[in-house]
Structures are given as structure tokens and as C-alpha cells.
């Protein structure tokens, strides 16, 4: 669990795919919000599924951007 998720609130269109894939990590409010942590693979799956590409993942240790 080294990935950190951030939501680009201007890009998020509240499709809700992230919440459907990883409800422990993402919840849909007016836009999606990050509510918890989870396995890296699950975060990546949610980020890739987002039709608006509004989820940004960075590596906590290296600071490297993982997605997009």
C-alpha cells in the first residue's frame, strides 16, 4: 500500500466507477472523495476505470506519479 490517491475535482463528473470498484477507498459525494486506503492494484484498477481520468495516483515513498 504505497500509492496515494487524489481526486481532480474539476475533472470528476461523479460517474461513480471508483466507488463501485473500491468502496473502501472512494465514495461519491458531489464529486468522488478519498475515504480510505487499500491495495495498490485496486487503486490502479479504479483510476484506470475512471472515464474522466480524475484520479491521480502517486507513490508515497518516491513521489513518482503512477497514473495517469
Amino acid at each position: 500500500m504505497t500509492y496515494v490517491a487524489e481526486i481532480d475535482e474539476d475533472a470528476c463528473a461523479a460517474h461513480g466507477d471508483c466507488e463501485a470498484i473500491a468502496p473502501e477507498i472512494f465514495r461519491l459525494d458531489d464529486v468522488a472523495i478519498v475515504v480510505g486506503e487499500g491495495p495498490d492494484e485496486l487503486m490502479l484498477e479504479a483510476a484506470r476505470a475512471c472515464p474522466s481520468v480524475a484520479i491521480r495516483l502517486t507513490d508515497r515513498d518516491s513521489g513518482e506519479q503512477i497514473y495517469p
Binding site: 459525494d29 484506470r48 472515464p51
Partner: protein, 389 residues
């Protein structure tokens, strides 16, 4: 009855309007007149996973029932708007009642455009509601010969879903390629190849000349002379706005015209989503209907306009689709373009098409490159700023 915000409709634009009102601190009454008997739900999955996965419909509702109770958003399920008295600020409903409003959002959506030649047959579907999707799913069994009229979004997505269900779809389209009117011949040909390589028969520049059968369509003859046998027919030739109930009011019957924020010409009346024709400053005209993302943003913007808040910049027109495992994302206005250039091979499922007008980017289509969407969005936003300082 308290008069607050009345929302005629239960789709995406209606839902986002209610959410934004409450999130912005509005404390007046909010009532949604949902024509359908269901909690407000999301339609895009109806032409995708709902057609081949019986469990998918459980995930359709935008919010659980508690959400509406906790936020005091009143839902009138299975009740339709029947008439507008804009002078008295009252909406007549199908249950015989009449509701006063301070602000009204017209978000009654659209209905599939019927084709008269197919209207009297039992095995013909159109797709808009959950019931429509359930009925279609029931017939999409392995081996079912599905004839699809129209290669628009609905026709293309149903073809892909039908393949997943094991059915055999044939699409008949009048144009030279799917979406050719929007995206041009080259990309249209790419969409055509996408379907054909997945086993879908796609017949272009063709139209149905005759329909054969008594109670059920057994086959059709095309203008070119070919006869196609079928077990079921899906008509997907676009939608028309649900405006019949506005007859007699001052509002346009070909879609409710509004400004960029969703205000109609009638005081206190707003519109959003498929029923609305919002003014598009980039195109300089009103544009009827919208895709998913735009409809949601229109509902939210109308809510802010009602409350006198700054609705922020309008959303760029956009759509996305997953076809046979390839994500396709589009934003902007391709018909404005005078040139299109490609990064990557347009014969593959991994490329960017950039549409330009006199060198300025007006639209971008991404195939199999979802990670490039933020970049494309930024490119278009910069371009729009330059156009409208």
C-alpha cells in the same frame, strides 16, 4: 404546499440539480417528479452491462433511498409532469395534483424516435428505460439474430453487448460509416472496423425498404435488395425531447431553449439534459440534447443559477464508450474542424485524433489511451480561453 425547487424528471440532470442545491446549503423544499417508478438511476449501463449481466442493474441507482430522506428531497415516483402554468408558477401532475414552485427545472429527458415501419410488431425494441433494457436482455440469448437499425451510440453499444451475450447482431446504417457525420469518414471507418472485427455484420449506406412478417418481424428487405432474417429488432435512430407536456406554454416545442446556465425565457424556469437546448457560445447557437457528462453538469449549473451562485465555466461537450474492450473518449466539437491529424496508427486501437480549425484544436478523440484525457482536456481549455478571453 411549500413552494421551493421543483424538478420535473428523475434522470442524471435532475439528480445533479438536487445534489447541488443541498450541497450549496439550499434549505427550501426540493421535489423531484420522477416519471418512472424507480429511484433515480443512471442510464448508460442500460446499453452496456445490463444487457448481458442480470446483476448489473443493482448498481444503477444514483443514491440509496435514505439519501433522499436525510436531505429532505421528496421523490414523486411514477408521476409525470402534465402541464405548465408559468404565470401561476404551477406544474400539473399526472396524479391530478398541481404543485407550486419558485424555481422549476425541466429535465424530462427524451424518448427514442420511433420508426413507423416497425411500430406494429411485437419483436421490436427501443432502449431508454430499465424496463426496455430488461426486455431486450431477455431476448439476447445465444444465437439470437438481432437486427439493429442505426449505428449511433445506442446501436453500437447494443451490438457490443449482444456479442457478449452470444447473440448475432447485424447493424443497418444509412450513413457511409458510424458517427461519420460527427467525426468524419476516416474515424467512421475505424468504428466500422471495430465492429466487423468483432463479428458484427455492419451494412452501411443501406435502408430498410420492406418489413416482412405478420405479428413479428421475420425479415427485412434492404434498398440494395438484400433480405435479412431476424429474431428481434432494435431501433436506435436517435431521441426526441420530451416536450409534449409543455404544449400551450411559452416554451419551444423542439426542446427548451436556455442560456448557457440553463435559464429559459420564462422567469423561474430552467432546463437541463436531453430536453434542453442550451446556448453554446463556442458554436454561437442553441444545441439540443447532451451526453452524460454534459447533462450532469447542466443540472448542477442550473441549481447554482437558481441560487444566484456563480456556476463556473460550462462543460466541454464530451462522450466516452467502451466497445469490445477499447475505451473511446471524445471531447470538443469535431464538426468545426477543417483538418484531423493522428498520433499513433488510426488502424490500431491505440491512437489520438486531433481535430483543428485554422490550426486551433477544436476536438480530440482518444482510442485506448485513457491516461491522455487530462492532457487533451487541458489542450481544449487553453484553446477555449484564447477564443473567449
Amino acid at each position: 404546499m411549500r413552494s421551493g425547487v421543483l424538478i420535473a424528471g428523475g434522470g442524471l440532470a435532475a439528480q445533479r440539480c438536487a445534489e447541488t442545491l443541498r450541497r450549496s446549503g439550499y434549505e427550501g423544499a426540493v421535489t423531484m417528479v420522477c416519471g418512472e417508478p424507480h429511484l433515480p438511476y443512471d442510464r448508460p449501463p442500460l446499453s452496456k452491462e445490463v444487457l448481458h449481466d442480470t446483476h448489473a442493474e443493482r448498481r444503477l441507482t444514483f443514491r440509496p433511498e435514505d439519501w433522499y430522506g436525510e436531505r429532505q428531497v421528496e421523490l414523486l415516483l411514477g408521476v409525470e409532469a402534465r402541464g405548465l402554468d408559468a404565470t401561476a408558477r404551477k406544474l400539473a401532475l399526472s396524479d391530478g395534483s398541481s404543485v407550486a414552485y419558485e424555481h422549476l427545472l425541466i429535465a424530462t429527458g427524451g424518448r427514442p424516435r420511433p420508426l413507423p415501419a416497425f411500430e406494429r410488431f411485437a419483436n421490436v425494441s427501443m432502449l431508454r428505460t430499465l424496463e426496455d433494457a430488461r426486455a431486450l436482455r431477455a431476448v439476447l440469448t445465444p444465437g439470437c439474430r438481432l437486427l439493429i437499425i442505426g449505428a449511433g451510440f445506442i446501436g453500437q453499444e447494443v451490438a457490443a453487448a449482444a456479442c457478449k451475450a452470444g447473440a448475432s447482431p447485424t447493424i443497418v446504417e444509412a450513413a457511409a460509416a458510424p458517427l461519420a457525420g460527427l467525426l468524419g469518414a476516416e474515424l467512421g471507418a475505424w468504428f466500422a472496423e471495430l465492429h466487423r472485427s468483432s463479428g458484427v455484420e455492419l451494412l452501411l449506406e443501406e435502408q430498410v425498404e420492406r418489413v416482412h412478417g405478420s405479428e413479428r418481424v421475420a425479415s427485412v428487405t434492404l434498398r440494395g435488395g438484400r433480405r435479412i432474417d431476424c429474431d428481434h429488432v432494435l431501433v436506435g435512430v436517435g431521441i426526441e425531447p420530451n416536450v409534449a407536456w409543455l404544449r400551450g406554454s411559452a416554451l419551444q416545442e423542439a426542446g427548451v431553449r436556455t442560456d448557457v446556465d440553463g435559464r429559459s425565457a420564462v422567469p423561474g424556469v430552467y432546463a437541463a439534459g436531453d430536453v434542453a437546448a442550451l446556448f453554446d457560445p463556442l458554436l454561437g447557437r442553441h444545441v439540443l440534447g447532451s451526453h452524460w457528462e454534459t447533462a450532469g453538469r447542466q443540472g448542477a449549473r442550473a441549481a447554482k443559477a437558481m441560487l444566484g451562485l456563480d456556476p463556473g465555466p460550462g462543460a466541454v461537450s464530451s462522450f466516452w464508450s467502451d466497445l469490445y474492450g477499447t475505451r473511446v473518449q471524445y471531447l470538443g466539437h469535431a464538426p468545426l474542424a477543417d483538418a484531423v491529424s493522428f498520433d499513433g496508427d488510426p488502424g490500431s486501437r491505440d491512437f489520438t485524433a486531433t481535430f483543428t480549425s485554422a490550426g486551433r484544436v477544436v476536438a480530440v478523440l482518444l482510442a485506448g489511451r485513457p491516461q491522455l484525457l487530462p492532457q487533451a482536456r487541458a489542450l481544449l481549455a487553453t484553446n477555449n480561453e484564447r477564443t473567449h478571453p
